[in-house]
Amino acid sequence: MAETQMSADGLKSLARYMDQFEDKESAIIKVLYEAQHIFGYLSNDVMLFIAEKMDIPAAKIFGVVSFYSYFTTTPRGRCQIKACMGTACFVRGSEKVVSEFEKQLNIKRGQTSDDLKYSLDVLRCVGACGLAPVIVVNDKVYGKATAADVSKIINEIQG
């Protein structure tokens, strides 16, 4: 019940957001941003809602969503662990750190744990190469991370 209420409110505010754009086509990416911000991910229902409201074919909306890695069509975990796999982090051993996360959380990169607690993603360069390898959890940055730090980081985000 609470969830349906939340999504009804969410759709209402998304509709208001969409209304401000005159040229709908060029606003697609901005609208999808807002939608993902509200709902956490872009479900089929949300994409269909946007398509209908903006009078743009749903296939086009889906085409945009699937093209950009920022958008996700599956729910993400509450703790979003993102490991930088830019070149600077890679040559300083980020692969080992990611593998350790996979081992300890028992999920692969790109996946979310069944209890929606963690998701693990790799991203391409956050631009903090001086701190390589870099792990970003929600918005907190852990620099110069090693495989040995992984359990410490997991403990910290649990607490």
């Binding site: 060029s26 990416i29 093209f67 070149t87 600077a88 890679f90 956050v126 631009g127 190469c129 870099v134």
Partner: protein, 626 residues
């Protein structure tokens, strides 16, 4: 600040604000009565708690009753990211490194109150053991640098328009509007020799000239801030440290080509850069430096931010335009070039962040001045992001034509942990690897291309003896394969095949024939792909094949990875250092380790799955990979 409606208003504002820079420009003479502290507020240093440090400094200054004579604020990236967070004290010109939030009190008590340097926070010069250096320009890292694009980074507070104007900001734009015709501006940029800093190196003035010559009232200026090269953070630092520089550069470009609207296409992964740039745009609008009738000249210009959504191909200009229009960022073939037919079919110029930030400085100080830096065909300076296995990771700006040796050994301080320098990768996934044998090469657009790499946006990743070059090529192919938009076949299918071949080689299934096929296919993709991404994707493979052929041969002929990286080609051995504790034996998931307590253990390499659990457990590091 009140609205600036005429050229004179801006000139007056500059005269009034100029004293803000006084402490930072003059070195201290006699007794110091006032001080300013600048704390690095770039993404790297903020990740190391520089905001908390600034808060502590402000509190400590107040606590010591110094708030009337000392101020502390943030600034853009100093570039020395390896040693961040950095605090610089003016006018003493003292440079503190690796400052923690808890150090704030000591800086205030010792330095500000008693005029004693906190020597434990000074830079320790590794070249002269034990010597500490207090001043920035005494450090090897800074000696050979020439900061033009990064001029304001580490000098002004990027969040305040007053500071930008005090540092001669917007004077370049004002001069254009007051004294120059659009054609004069184009001519000035042409004469400066400025070339695109995003990778291609196309002369900026010529691009502007083509767009200016197009008929029609609607044209666009686009700033490409979709810095996607992994390991490159030049543009991010400029956006964070000098956002008004981008606004001014774009307005000048708009005036030159006759555009009234501009877009900044910026990566969503750069939240701090977005916030600072948006703030700069809002401030410029508020004082009338963006909007209608700028400084009473009749020139209108407005700016809008568009967010990228994580697609590397959008750094390619035609793909970027499709993304701004709201669709999938798929490239289109050229011609028509964007300068003729770009955004919504209108003439559009697309310039990179670093290119644009140079523009106001060129207008301010003249084309001749800019032209005096650099090599014969590559003028001016270039910002490089030094990263990887190098001692001084950071952002450096050097005159083009400098040698690789100077960058890596003098500025960069050499290779980490005294290891052997093997190669440097420039140009990101589109570039190539330059081997150690070419260390004396001069760095400019032509020289890098001749070596099978490219300038790219300026990433420089240093590799040492522990990096396997086949593995590096595979890493880049993995990247381009993921980021290929899928529109053209050579890129979509070809790069996938290249990746598969590289996987075979690193896992011990490659033959000499694989190497031939690899070379062939790479060349075909280079010749036939639609856009810049596809055409340059094979560069990492081709350049490593050329310069590190032996290493490829070792993988396929001897089934050996000389750098000890490719796990499938390695075996674990227990050396004589073994103390027979049995920890490895207990942890081996496939029970392939045998040995009696207190006696030398050994690994059955035929059953070993190479998980490395034993090596991690060994208390005396007696288990090695060979």
């Amino acid at each position: 600040m009140q609205k600036l409606s005429t050229y004179k208003d801006l000139a007056d504002a500059y005269a009034r604000l100029k004293p803000l820079m006084r402490l930072r420009e003059e070195s201290a003479q006699g007794e110091i009565t006032k001080r300013e502290l600048l704390v690095c507020g770039g993404t790297g240093c903020q990740s190391s708690r520089s905001q908390e440090l600034l808060n502590n400094l402000t509190a400590a200054i107040k606590g010591a009753g110094l708030e009337d004579t000392v101020t502390a604020h943030i600034t853009g990236c100093f570039g020395f990211c390896e040693k961040g967070p950095i605090v610089k004290v003016f006018p003493d010109d003292v440079f503190y490194v690796e400052v923690q939030p808890d150090d704030a009190k000591e800086i205030v008590e010792e330095h500000l109150k008693k005029n004693n340097l906190v020597s434990r926070l000074l830079y320790h010069d590794p070249a002269h053991a034990g010597r500490t250096l207090a001043r920035q320009h005494d450090m090897d890292f800074y000696k050979k640098q020439e900061r033009i694009a990064l001029l304001h980074c580490g000098l002004i507070n990027p969040e305040l328009i007053d500071e930008y104007i005090a540092a001669e900001g917007y004077l370049g734009l004002a001069q254009c509007l007051e004294k120059m015709t659009p054609a004069d501006v184009v001519a000035e940029i042409k004469a400066s020799g400025l070339r695109g800093r995003g990778g291609g190196g196309f002369p900026t003035g010529i691009k502007w000239e083509v767009a200016a010559a197009q008929p029609g009232p609607v044209k666009y200026v686009v700033c490409n801030a979709d810095e996607g090269d992994p390991g490159a953070f030049m543009d991010r630092s400029i956006l964070e440290g000098d956002p008004h520089g981008i606004v001014e550069g774009m307005a000048i470009a708009g005036y030159a080509i006759g555009a009234t609207h501009g877009y900044v296409y910026i990566r969503a992964e750069y939240p701090l850069a977005i916030a600072r740039l948006q703030r700069a745009v809002d401030q410029a609008k508020e004082v009338g430096l963006l909007g209608k009738n700028i400084l009473g000249s009749g020139f209108d210009f407005d700016l809008e931010l568009k967010y990228g959504a994580g697609a590397f191909v959008c750094g390619e200009e035609t793909a970027l335009l499709r993304s701004i229009e709201g669709g999938r960022g798929e490239p289109t073939s050229k011609p028509p070039f964007p300068a003729q037919k770009g955004l919504w079919g209108k003439p559009t110029i697309i310039n990179n962040v670093e290119t644009l930030v140079n523009v106001p400085k060129i207008l301010n100080r003249g084309a001749k001045w800019y032209y005096s830096f650099g090599s014969e065909k590559s003028k001016g300076t270039k910002v490089f992001a030094l990263a990887g296995k190098i001692n001084n990771v950071g952002l450096v700006e050097v005159p083009l034509g400098i040698s690789l040796h100077e960058i890596i050994y003098e500025i960069g301080g050499g290779i980490k942990d005294g290891k052997q320098f093997k190669a440097v990768q420039t140009g990101g996934p589109s570039g190539g690897c330059i081997p150690a044998s070419q260390i004396d090469a001069k760095i400019d657009y032509e020289a890098l291309t001749a070596m099978g790499s490219m300038m790219g946006s300026g990433g420089m990743i240093v590799m040492d003896e522990d990096n396997c070059m086949v593995d590096i090529a595979k890493f880049y192919l993995d990247f381009t394969m993921e980021e290929s938009c899928g529109k053209c076949t050579p890129c979509r299918v070809g790069n996938k095949r290249l990746y598969e071949m590289l996987t075979d080689i690193t896992e011990g299934r490659g033959t000499m024939e694989t190497l031939d096929k690899l070379q062939n296919l790479a060349q075909v993709i280079k010749d036939t792909a639609l856009c810049g991404l596809g055409q340059t994707a094979p560069n990492p493979v081709l350049s490593t094949l050329k310069h590190f052929h032996d290493e490829y041969v070792a993988h396929v002929k001897d089934r050996r990875c000389p750098a000890g990286v490719c796990t499938a080609l390695l075996d674990y051995f227990i050396t004589d250092a073994c103390i027979g504790c049995g920890l490895c034996k207990r942890d081996c998931p496939v029970s392939c380790i045998t040995g009696e307590k207190r006696e030398h253990h050994s690994i059955d390499t035929t059953r070993c799955i190479k998980c490395g659990a034993c090596a991690n457990k060994c208390p005396v590091k007696a288990i090695v990979r060979k």
